[in-house]
Symmetry: C2
Subunit: 94 residues, 2 copies
DNA sequence: ACTTATATTAGCAGTATTGCTAATTAGCGA
DNA sequence: TCGCTAATTAGCAATACTGCTAATATAAGT
């Protein structure tokens, strides 16, 4: 999932999708790359569950999956915790 | 920076470092990979400013750079938050 | 059925990443 | 200085990623 976000174009796709669902074509227009290249990025993001695809006539609508992004952010937060093991629970005696 | 966190071993290094500074040797011990391999991962993390290195006699102490992790987490949050996340809520009227 | 619009898959080169062993640097103590 | 420990750098093969063009699906209209 971090790997899926490792590419700038894919982060930019996520950024574009946060303002609402978009079709593959709309997304491809936003980039200099060829359409199949964007299509591949989309499939990587879909593989990582960061986006979902839904057919709408001849188009395919993509939308961001907020919960997985939340997971990623939480994972990063987890990496920041200073001097504490892997416990979410504060079960310190007092 | 996302790229630096894209590799599992590098995320694990960050996880190990969150409980305090460690030497290259201590980190290398925690993995199956050869020492130079870990050393390279460390240099990637250092390049991304995710860790800092400090010489301590013959050893080198590595520690996590919390502020950059915060930045990353904030960036992810940024990918989630907009006043517009319309899956199908069109009630932005009032 | 045929054509058009939308999008993905296949195949291919160029590049980057990974992980290894061998060689090298840096500090410390005798 | 020499030897020893700690760690990085160099060089190499294998693998993965990226982005292109060409070929292939899929849905809708005529």
């Amino acid at each position: 999932m971090f790997k899926a976000l490792a590419h700038p174009a894919r982060r930019q796709i996520m950024a574009l999708l946060k303002s609402g669902p978009k079709t593959s074509g709309e997304l491809a227009e936003a980039f200099d790359s060829a359409w199949p290249t964007i299509s591949r990025h989309l499939s990587v993001l879909k593989e990582a569950d960061l986006i979902t695809a839904e057919r709408d006539g001849t188009s395919i609508l993509y939308r961001a999956n907020a919960s997985v992004l939340e997971e990623a952010a939480a994972a990063l937060m987890g990496l920041m915790n200073t001097d504490n093991g892997d416990d979410d629970l504060k079960e310190a005696a007092e």
